[in-house]
């Protein structure tokens, strides 16, 4: 067990190291370095000033030194400075974390609450009208851009009720209901897509499990249908579902990028888009790295959860 965990941790470390290298190179490829951008807004370029700034930022040093320094800073939690806000990046990111986290948790909650039961029903009613209907609904969820869905929902609300969710962020500690009202729609818009994926995987694994001998035995013993489906079958079908939920949770961030923009929520994902648009490259590099860390650890957690959920899995492989 210990060697297994060590191995997994090592792989995670290697992945993140590779990611950091990739991001570093990509940000060096990006058009214009940070001094260009800072001086661009000032309107004039004084070469002496520029060199001074470059020296201050350390970008006149060899690339390998720059990379090493960035990595060291990142590991120590130093996320650099935002040129746009002229603040340490961490101060800008910190208040945004709860927003993204709340949105991600709510969206995932919706996704599981809708995806798992619908997937089970669809599998049990295979070939019936309800199965077709649920499959079409889930495919539609995978087909609609979440930001468009969000826009349509806002539009409908405005048209039918004249109500717009508050476009300025309300903290849950100030006003829980206003906060929830504000988060409900974006969470649904993002969660719909994930629920569609969860439903599909639940359906296909349930179909497999329902064919197993022990399910037939359970039926033969005269167990109630509900017990067979929801206790015996779902339990064994849950493994791929848990994997998907783990992976989806991390990948939800991708969906949040646009949704936070549409709903004007001051989250981390939106900050990434802002930073890209303002060419605040040090922030882009650090934020993307932060997201990679979250994704890799989510995957790691899923792998370890596996062994807990299914004791048959050996650690060797």
């Amino acid at each position: 067990m210990r060697t297994y965990i060590c191995k997994r941790l090592l792989i995670a470390g290697v992945t993140l190291l590779g990611m950091s290298l990739l991001l570093f190179v990509l940000m060096r490829l990006a058009p214009g370095n940070i001094t260009d951008i800072i001086f661009e807004s000032a309107g004039y370029v004084d070469e002496a000033d520029r060199h001074k700034l470059e020296a201050e930022l350390g970008i006149d040093r060899p690339l390998i030194v720059q990379y090493g320094r960035w990595l060291g800073d990142f590991v120590r939690g130093e996320l650099g400075k935002s040129y746009r806000y002229d603040l340490p990046a961490w101060q800008v990111i910190k208040p945004r974390l709860p927003v993204t986290l709340e949105l991600a948790v709510l969206a995932m909650g919706f996704a599981i609450a809708l995806g798992v039961p619908f997937g089970v029903i669809s599998a049990v009613q295979r070939g019936h009208a309800i199965d077709y209907a649920l499959r079409v609904v889930s495919l539609a969820g995978l087909s609609m851009p979440s930001f468009w869905l969000a826009m349509i929902v806002i539009l409908l609300l405005v048209r039918s009720m004249g109500w717009i969710p508050s476009m300025t962020y309300v903290s849950p500690f100030d006003n829980l209901w206003a906060n929830l009202a504000q988060f409900l729609l974006p969470a649904l818009a993002v969660g719909y897509r994930s629920s569609a994926l969860i439903m599909r995987i639940t359906r296909s694994t349930m179909l497999e499990v329902l064919r197993e001998d022990y399910i037939r035995t359970a039926w033969a013993k005269g167990q109630r249908g509900r017990t067979v489906v929801w206790r015996h079958a779902l339990k064994n079908a849950s493994l791929p579902v848990v994997t998907l939920i783990g992976i989806e949770f991390a990948f939800l961030i991708g969906g949040l990028v646009v949704t936070e923009t549409v709903f004007n929520l001051p989250g981390v994902a939106r900050y990434l888009v802002d930073a890209i648009q303002f060419r605040d490259y040090p922030i882009v590099q650090n934020l993307a790295m932060l997201i990679a860390v979250v994704v890799v650890f989510a995957n790691l957690t899923v792998d370890l959860l596996y062994t807990w959920l299914d004791p048959r899995i050996k650690f060797g492989a």
Binding site: V14, T15, G18, M19, L22, L23, L26, M27, A30, P31, V124, Q125, R126, G127, R135, V136, L139, A140, L142, S143, M144, P145, F147, W148, M151, I152, I154, L155, V158, R203, S204, L207, E208, L210, R211, I215, R216, W219, R224, G225, R226, V229, A250, F251, L252, I253, G254, V257, V258, V262, L272, V273, I276, Q277, V284, A288, I291, A292, V295, V296
Partner: protein, 298 residues
């Protein structure tokens, strides 16, 4: 759920069905009504993309003073904030979406597929290193990686294609590698080797053609994702630049100011994206069922 649900416990059809006189295409339609609908939607999109000039009623990029006109007989889907005909823009948008979607999916799938072929066939250290590299590429959510790539490369049509294909490649590599690993163990591969056929030729002639089924499934599955990614990138202003009429960017203009005054600007481009992706998804599902019998019915 009080009643006992009926469960399909029937023995899977053991006997091959007698082939009727109906052609393969018709059988596909009859067995996969949803897939046929998907195919129709995809066909519609392809036709719109190819014959956009014939279908369009106006020039999609020419501005006019008649801004934000509601849908009517002259402008079927209304006009946007610059007085451009939305219907013509949506039709031409099919061309951009399909071009970017197809180009990035094919590029990503081909490059990824080759990587997967080499990785799976060579095995050993090559495989290990390649797989770790693919892990790295997949450590970021699709859209985040595409965003960072698009930002690094700068917004242009080509760069959008590159950014999306880079995201697709590792997924293609995974799929092709998995099937290569299985095919490699078949006896006919061993006999080809025993006959003195070179590794390169075995991989190319004997293994690669057999990964075609999963490959096609992958391409159709990724096409929808690629169209969505293009829409999202363009929506954020990092994808296809002006003057190309991209569905995603049409929405970003609409979202900014005109959603309430001109809801058609929100509705139609988004509907076009959704229908296009819905079509590819339906078709992809049906193709998976047909070409990958192991997954049939799942």
């Amino acid at each position: 759920m009080a009643t006992i649900p009926s469960i399909d416990l029937a023995i899977p059809e053991a006997l091959p069905r007698r082939r009727g006189r109906s052609s393969g295409a018709w059988r596909f339609v009859r067995r996969n009504p949803l897939g046929a609908i998907g195919g129709l939607l995809v066909l519609l999109m392809i036709v719109a993309a190819i014959f956009a000039d014939a279908f369009a009623t106006h020039n999609p990029v020419r501005t006019s003073s008649r801004v934000l006109v509601a849908p009517g007989s002259e402008f079927w889907l209304g006009t946007d904030n610059l007085g451009r005909d939305l219907y013509s823009r949506v039709v031409h948008g099919a061309r951009i979406s399909l071009a970017v979607g197809l180009a990035s999916t094919l590029l990503g799938a081909l490059v990824g597929g080759l990587i997967g072929l080499v990785s799976g066939y060579a095995g050993g250290t090559t495989d290990l290193v390649t797989q770790r590299l693919m892990d790295i590429m997949q450590a970021l959510p699709i859209l985040v990686l595409a965003l960072v790539l698009a930002a690094a490369l700068g917004p242009s049509l080509t760069n959008t294609v590159i950014a999306i294909s880079v995201v697709i490649a590792p997924r293609a590599a995974r799929v092709v590698r998995a099937s290569v690993l299985a095919i490699r163990e078949f006896v006919y591969v061993e006999s080809a080797r025993a006959l003195g056929v070179s590794h390169a030729r075995v991989a190319w002639r004997h293994i690669l053609p057999n990964t075609f089924g999963p490959f096609i499934v992958l391409v159709t599955a990724q096409l929808g994702g690629a169209i969505l990614a293009e829409a999202a990138l363009s929506f954020l202003g990092l994808g296809v630049p002006e003057p190309y009429p991209s569905w995603g960017r049409m929405l970003s203009i609409a979202a900014a100011e005109y959603a309430e005054k001109a809801p058609w600007l929100v509705i139609y481009p988004g509907l076009a994206i959704s229908l296009a992706v819905f079509g590819t998804n339906l078709l992809g599902d049906a193709l998976r069922d047909t070409l990958d019998p192991r997954l049939r019915g799942s």
